[in-house]
């Protein structure tokens, strides 16, 4: 195995006794305060100088990303009053158009996305994709507390309109709620204590707090069967959502819905379950979107050992994600050519009417998720394929593929894709405003040099770009 051979080779690598002694014969010096101050101030100046990222958000008239009016996407609208037959100009928030699937896939397939036609296709895809490490970035799941933010004016009915000013989760987009361990509606504080396995509902008025009630989450003690692990909260009007993992390995994401119209007596109204570990969540206009991620390994080794081949390719439960116990329809599974043995599962649940509205899964790499009031954008980084590696230069070491999923008030629909050069940091590298999607990437041009058997990569200076 690689590891053993590498270890035994590296064990022989060590400094000579002479070199070590020479290096150790360094006189111990007293720390000089002035030197430190000088070094620190020089460092500060250098940092200020090097922080010149060009960040101009400008409308690109040549490159139209997600422009529903572009000439290449001449589609027949359903006449939803968004007359845009003229293939010109920039997008103007037409992302809620319902386009028939067959026409959407045209642009999706250009960037390597297609809907699965059978479960067998998925099985074969999983067999092909090598063991991978998923490129998750550290997403802002539990938002920071932001002081002095005005209350969310998009709150659904049921919330009193005269809520006192209060701080809130640091949501990236106003009107799109993100999960947090503390939620606040101006009168009550909802605090998820993971250690104590419960949610405290605390009244907070005139500077005084009082625990009004508690929601105890099953914790495997005597009397309750299964321990589930709470992760984050969402507050949707008079519904409190507790998102949990079903066990230590987090095979499933479980959402508990509680009616908190009566704060002293929270009542559980629903429970939903989807495969995978909890990844992210959003609330837009009363619809709760839960995003989870599930790995489905068919081969489990970088060096392709046959040890873990799944035998039952007819047993869907072995490799197809499930929602509330049922495998997802293969028509709802989008396959990406950014190969990965991981499903990203998005579900939409109407918290007001208490019903599941739709679900969608992406089989492929999913690095960052940005959610605006209209769409979810999934960005995934992709490195150069070995086939692309030839001696010479390349514009970028990596690129980022973006998939757009329209929210449509809970009816998820993948309706656009594009690819940009470079890589992004996280969800904050993306933004949508007035129908224009903007993304900032860092590009690393590369030169390849052949050295006998190997190809060496020489990375040139990176630069930043905003699309």
């Amino acid at each position: 195995m690689f590891e053993n051979r590498y270890k035994s080779a590296m064990d022989k690598v060590s400094p000579s006794e002479d070199a070590l002694n020479k290096a150790l014969n360094i006189p111990v010096k007293k720390r000089n305060v002035r030197n430190i101050l000088r070094t620190v101030s020089i460092a500060c100046i250098l940092v200020a100088l090097t922080c010149t990222t060009v960040f101009t958000a400008f409308k690109l008239s040549n490159i139209n990303l997600f422009n529903d009016n572009s000439e290449s996407n001449e589609v027949n609208n359903n006449g939803n009053g968004n007359g845009n037959g003229n293939g010109n100009g920039n997008g103007n928030g037409n992302s809620n158009i319902n386009l028939p699937n067959s026409q959407i896939t045209l642009s999706l397939s250009e960037h390597g996305f297609k809907f699965a036609e059978s479960y067998n296709e998925i099985y074969e895809y999983l067999k092909e994709s090598s063991d991978d490490l998923i490129l998750d970035d550290n997403e802002a799941e539990d938002g920071d507390f932001a002081e002095g933010v005005t209350p969310d004016t998009d709150a659904p009915t049921g919330v009193p309109t005269d809520t006192p000013e209060h701080s809130d989760t640091n949501n990236q987009v106003s009107g799109v709620q993100e999960g947090d361990v503390i939620k606040n509606d101006g009168r009550y504080i909802y605090h998820l204590s993971k250690d104590n396995h419960r949610v405290y509902i605390i009244s907070a008025t005139d500077g005084k707090t009082d625990i009004v009630s508690e929601i105890i989450i099953p914790n495997g003690t005597k009397g309750t069967k299964n321990k589930i692990y709470p992760n984050t909260l969402l507050l949707v009007g008079n519904t409190l959502v507790i998102i949990c993992a079903d066990n230590v390995y987090s095979n499933n994401t479980i959402c508990l819905y509680y009616d908190i119209s009566d704060k002293s007596n929270p009542v559980k109204t629903d429970e939903t379950k989807q495969s995978g570990y909890y990844r992210n969540c959003r609330v837009v206009d009363g619809t709760v979107y839960i995003i989870s991620q599930k790995h489905s390994y068919i081969y489990d080794s970088v060096y392709y050992s046959d040890d873990n081949v799944l035998e039952a390719e007819n047993d869907l439960s072995k490799f197809i994600p499930e929602i509330d116990g049922e495998p997802i329809d293969c028509e709802e599974i989008l396959i990406s050519d950014n190969s990965s043995s991981s499903f990203t599962i998005i579900t939409a649940y109407d918290a007001v009417n208490k019903e599941r509205k739709s679900s969608l899964a992406l089989l492929g790499s999913c690095q960052s998720i940005y959610c605006s009031k209209e769409n979810i954008y999934i960005a995934s980084g992709n490195y150069l394929d070995d086939e692309d590696v030839v001696a010479g230069e390349c514009a970028s070491y990596n690129n980022t593929k973006i998939l757009r999923i329209a929210l449509n008030n809970g009816i998820l629909s993948a309706n656009g894709a594009t690819t940009v050069l470079g890589q992004i940091n996280n969800q904050f590298s993306m933004d949508e405003k007035d129908g224009i999607f903007r993304i900032a990437t860092t590009i690393t041009p590369v030169t390849f040099v052949e050295r006998g058997k190997y190809i060496e990569y020489l990375f040139n200076d990176t630069y930043n770009k905003v699309y």
């Binding site: 360094i26 305060v33 050295r451």
Partner: protein, 162 residues
Amino acid sequence: MSNQLLRNSDKNEEILRRNADMVYRIAYLRTGNTHDAEDIMQEVFLRFVKYSPAFESKDHEKAWFIRATVNRTNSFFTSAWKRRVVPLDETVKSYDEMNDSEVLEAVMALPKDISTAIHLYYYENMPIKEISEAMGKSESAVKSLLFRGRKLLRISLEDTYS
């Protein structure tokens, strides 16, 4: 500076000896030859003595030395290339006794950050979280380095494995 910040030189030596091999190996991996590795090791030791960092734990100490070594090798490359003194051929292919392993050569041919991540993972047995702290990168960046490294190694070592 106050005496409180002065560290016992015996203790210094103990810390340096403890980390010498690790520092040297990383420097060797990144520079490709023994001489530069020795230079880097000396520079890292000098920095340690000069700044006398107070370590909270063994992990912190390890991370500090790794980061210092990586930084020194980066500066080394910048200055070397600017001076145009060091021809690439020499640094990549140096035939020491230590370098007789095909696997080692394959790792050394990888881009520097990738080879460092591979080394820390497989040789130092560090979990990804610690590697990310030591290299000053996000965990996802480390994961992608490892991913890329494995892929490249698989290609270059394909002949070796059945």
